[in-house]
Symmetry: C2
Subunit: 215 residues, 2 copies
DNA sequence: CAGAAACTGTGTCCGCTAGACACTGTGTAA
DNA sequence: TTACACAGTGTCTAGCGGACACAGTTTCTG
């Protein structure tokens, strides 16, 4: 995935380049924000930029790399977060959630084998820095960040799918007897939109508990 | 997604049906186990069954429904787990991890808007039952299950991508100065393959902590 | 017992996709 | 001035999901 890390090449001879990688990524992001990830086709991205699709292949080796670029540009620079410890981890998680809320397609674009770009790696760097001073090994710190990021991603995604809860409601209504716990859980929602907070609090509690246990 | 919940229709008149939904799903699962989710094409699944692709449309409305069916058949019946509480939740999570280990493609097939099948709902039912007696609201129980399932999925997926850690190693080697925490974390892995255990322990710790806090 | 009706699996077709490749025109370096 | 390197275009292929008409098979009905 050189496209994520190498700087834009400037041609020594020949016509000037009319596009930039970032411009292409931003056009694709705008398209995905409006119509979802499945609407991303080289044809459509190129049309949005006023060129033919084959022109894009001068900037990006293929569609997979374009999506990887979209993810890294869409995630954007890591936000300013103060200090370390629980508060910093929570702020980091909420900032990540805001990114996913802005770009819902990203929740599905970050799954599967893929390359990590500079923005994303700086986010990771920042989260690991918030864990400095804890008694965790490097692997454990990475695991802790993965748990937080995974939770945020899962919640952001489920927020974009609230309607499937209703679809499941129809199934459940006819089979409440077979699924008593699920039916009861849906009938007793508690506070609305608290899924992010709840999971975040439990994970951070668990991290804190282990830190004090080891010291 | 009637295909997941309705029973197989038996034709009153006409030729006997040569296939079954489950047979189709199992053929597709075998293909995906061997070659990944992106190798699933109606053409290839049909070829594996010795029919033309259009024959499949007599059993399944389209590819999305076939994948949903693959997921539900692949997840399979919920395992026997004893009791409630932390031990039951941990056993449930490990059983789910075993499923994902058996069918790596499922980790990417369960993301995005999709329907939930009977097997999957019975897994959810079982996990919620393990949370019976806790002071959590129904919504919170669902959140807790989502956190556990999300973690298991994320870890199973990362296990299938161990090679990208090496690819990232090349990037990091050239930029260790820019990413000191990430470099340090990768240089100090700690126990191998402990990611599942670590996150699971932290989440379950966090759940326990909240239960005792409320009582 | 004949014929209609319903159904399965096939063949053909369409629009769309990612991408390979040859080509034209442009700008710079020799 | 000429040759080279590069940008963007047009054309082509293989493969995809899926609509639709059709032939063959089985069963119910007149």
């Amino acid at each position: 995935m050189d496209v994520l890390w190498d700087s834009e090449p400037a041609p020594a001879r020949g016509p000037r380049r009319g596009l930039t990688r970032e411009g292409i990524a931003r056009a694709a992001i705008a398209l995905a924000d409006a119509e979802g990830l499945e609407s991303i086709a080289m044809q459509r991205v190129a049309a949005a930029l006023g060129v033919t699709k084959m022109a894009l292949y001068r900037y990006v080796p293929g569609k997979a790399e374009l999506v990887a670029l979209m993810v890294d540009v869409g995630i954007g620079p890591v936000p300013d977060i103060a200090g370390t410890g629980r508060a910093a981890l929570e702020a980091w998680s909420r900032a990540l959630h805001a990114v996913f809320a802005r770009h819902p397609w990203a929740t599905t674009a970050v799954v599967g084998p893929r390359a990590v770009g500079p923005h994303e790696l700086r986010w990771t760097e920042r989260a690991l820095a918030a864990l400095a001073g804890t008694p965790f090994t490097g692997g454990e710190k990475l695991d802790a960040v993965a748990v937080l990021a995974g939770h945020v991603r899962a919640i952001a995604q489920q927020g974009a799918e609230e309607e499937i809860g209703q679809a499941m409601g129809a199934v459940l209504a006819a089979r409440a007897g077979e699924f008593p716990e699920v039916s009861a859980a849906f009938a007793d929602p508690g506070e609305r939109n608290a899924a992010l907070d709840f999971g975040l609090a439990r994970i951070l509690d668990g991290i804190d508990a282990e830190i004090s246990r080891r010291s």
